[in-house]
Symmetry: C2
Subunit: 411 residues, 2 copies
């Protein structure tokens, strides 16, 4: 892509009304824009990152048998009366012109369960798992964590349906595997811990995935040996110890942000909507459910915090909007730069070429660091003389002279 | 894909509360599900069709320089006060926990103009065009046209920004070209006419794209010679004649559904938000805007009506969720069918193999016709004896025996 074609521009300073680290850096670099507290636009660079995250999630969830669909955001309030959730404070309410009450989905149990009920009759129809990547609305009182906690955000929500607890537990393990792959591929695996938390209304405990970051909203107690953690809300319940190795964890809490969760829903929602199946013995039984969430926008914010420094972002290759950022420092260099750009695009290596007019070398380097593409290539009269290009990894001090052919082989 | 893996099932009859042809057939075939009037879920098959449409639109809009982004659905009402649109009856209203009023976007001028204003200073920043594929909300009084007119729907909205009218008009022509390509590729080009309509508040006339269908909500007057049409609302203004060849069109109206529109917005929204640019001569001038919409869900409904018969859907290859539907009529045939399925998927030809247990041949054929994949392949003991497969195009009476190798060459 030609950078002159990108309508966004990097900014020297963050907007004054933005307190969160993730939004400050993403706004400065032109990835997102703030419309109001907790509500952000995803600009071309930001949307490219979201699409990379979506692709990773789709591949991993498809691999555990998830069927992708797309549920509406606008829901009849009756479905929430059925589950007793019509008055939770984060629901946005509105009404139709005819007067009927509606709400905007902050989660989709109230829609997916009546839908699945239309297609499940017997044990032969189970298990099944459906998921979507979709926009949710949550009427947060004071959102101030940037894209960590939005009034509008994008989420992958997966729901699984089973004949019995044993089948659910097997699937739950497969979902844990998929989640590990997703966080590993997104580059946050090492910092992200399976965390024991309270189960809310559904069960005693649930599992969260918490990524360690100083600006996180939660406090967790980490067992490094087991690579798991315990959320502050239940650390007393567990007498301050690791649920696996029983080591004392209670001395030091760490700030973290929840990037995903997996829940046992038991028959909480099946009961509310009468979702049953005919079992092998001919009797009707309630369907056992699990639900599994990952916030895509939140994951993007978490990765932005983990992969940034004073100069800007430094995306892992798996999430970066482009792999190579090309800068030319003379007219002769510009011709070579354009050729390199085209050659890279031709072999499907996403490249951004800074072809803008009237910018100094300093401005170009400043913006390149801020945008944070993994590899920067500089072409100048000096590199041309040596028939080389200058290659530098974002975050590294060292630039290296390479000839174009060897460079093309490495990227 | 294995059909046993698909949780949806085709239905013998349409739901009684569904009046529209497009929703009736799409619900019966398992593509969509109705949550409430004007609000539909897109099931796995339906989402595959939507993704095909989205890919066509992205390719064509990227080709005319559109930059994709993603704007929020939740908007502060102040932006609508600025344009005088806060009281239009189709807006969904709600409020934040703190009491501030918000609305849900039915269009995005009120968000995109303040956004673009942050990045446009001088004539050097123009022209630019941004678009999104995003969910809109419209509080329709009585939605009864299935996915033609939803309270929630998916739209591609493109906005272009120009220094002067001449530049806008040039881009408008390019957008017309892109729209022609999109409707042609989606298989509805021949039935879809550029239609002169009233310009609403913005200008005298605007252009709609109307697809001829008996269940359409609009009436248009068609000039076959010019392949254009005039909307009923302005046919009197034009004295009943074609705006190009001046032939009388007024004798017979045709029902049609609007699948897209292109508007000149002039400075209507630039003025409201003070979106100006510094011109070559140093003076500040208002930015000229155009907007260009295509309803993806509506286009899917229009194609479903155009490409269906009494037995069900018959998708054009460009929109079909799969290219080949494979049915096996014996255990030996099933082994060959699975092999064919895997071979097709391996070379990226999307195939659906009906591997479900305990279904009669009649049930399989019935569902295959209803789902409407372009090519049906039947493998039976009889075809195996002749070392052939039976190939039939959806909508054709003739089945043809082919050997697998020649079949693989043709698809």
């Amino acid at each position: 892509m030609l950078q002159s074609h990108l309508f966004t521009k990097a900014q020297r300073s963050a907007p004054k009304d933005e307190q969160s680290k993730n939004a400050q850096i993403l706004i400065r670099a032109g990835y997102v824009d703030k419309l109001m507290a907790g509500v952000y636009s995803f600009l071309p660079l930001g949307l490219l990152v979201l699409k990379r995250i979506a692709t990773i999630i789709r591949e991993e969830i498809n691999a555990i048998g998830g069927q992708e669909l797309l549920l509406p955001a606008l829901h009849p309030v009756e479905n929430y009366v059925a589950t007793g959730r019509e008055n939770i404070d984060v629901l946005f309410h509105s009404e139709l012109q005819g007067g009927q009450k509606v709400v905007f989905g902050q989660s989709h149990e109230e829609v997916v369960v009546p839908l699945v009920k239309k297609f499940v009759d017997s044990y032969r129809d189970l298990p099944l798992a459906v998921y979507q990547i979709q926009t949710k609305f949550r009427n947060e009182l004071r959102p101030k964590s940037g894209i960590f906690r939005g009034r509008e955000f994008i989420m992958k929500d997966l729901y699984s349906f089973h004949a019995d607890e044993k089948d659910f537990e097997e699937y739950y393990e497969r979902a844990r595997g998929a989640y590990k792959n997703i966080f590993d591929r997104a580059g946050i695996g090492e910092k992200t811990l399976l965390t024991f938390a309270s189960g809310g209304t559904f069960s005693k405990y649930s599992h969260e995935y918490q990524m360690l970051t100083d600006s996180g909203e939660d406090t967790i107690y980490v067992c490094e040996a087991c690579h798991i953690a315990v959320n502050e809300e239940i650390i007393k319940d567990l007498s301050g110890t690791c649920p696996e190795c029983k080591k004392d964890l209670s001395k030091k809490g760490h700030k973290a942000i929840e990037v995903g969760n997996i829940f046992s829903l038991k028959t909480r929602f099946s009961d509310a909507f009468g979702l049953t199946y005919r079992s092998v013995d001919g009797s009707d039984k309630p369907v056992i459910m699990g639900c599994y969430g990952i916030g895509l926008t939140r994951l993007m914010g978490a990765a932005a915090e983990l992969y940034s420094d004073e100069a800007g972002l430094r995306w892992p290759s798996s999430l970066a909007p482009f792999q190579v950022h090309i800068i030319a420092l003379s007219e002769d260099a510009a011709r070579e730069a354009k050729k390199l750009h085209d050659a890279l695009e031709k072999r499907n290596t996403r490249a951004l070429y800074d072809d803008r007019e009237g910018k100094s070398a300093g401005e170009r380097f400043f913006e390149a660091d801020l945008i944070g593409i993994p590899t920067r290539v500089v072409i100048s009269d000096k590199t041309l003389q040596e028939k080389k290009i200058e290659v530098k990894k974002r975050g590294s001090d060292k630039a290296e002279y390479m000839d174009i052919n060897s460079f093309m082989e490495t990227v």
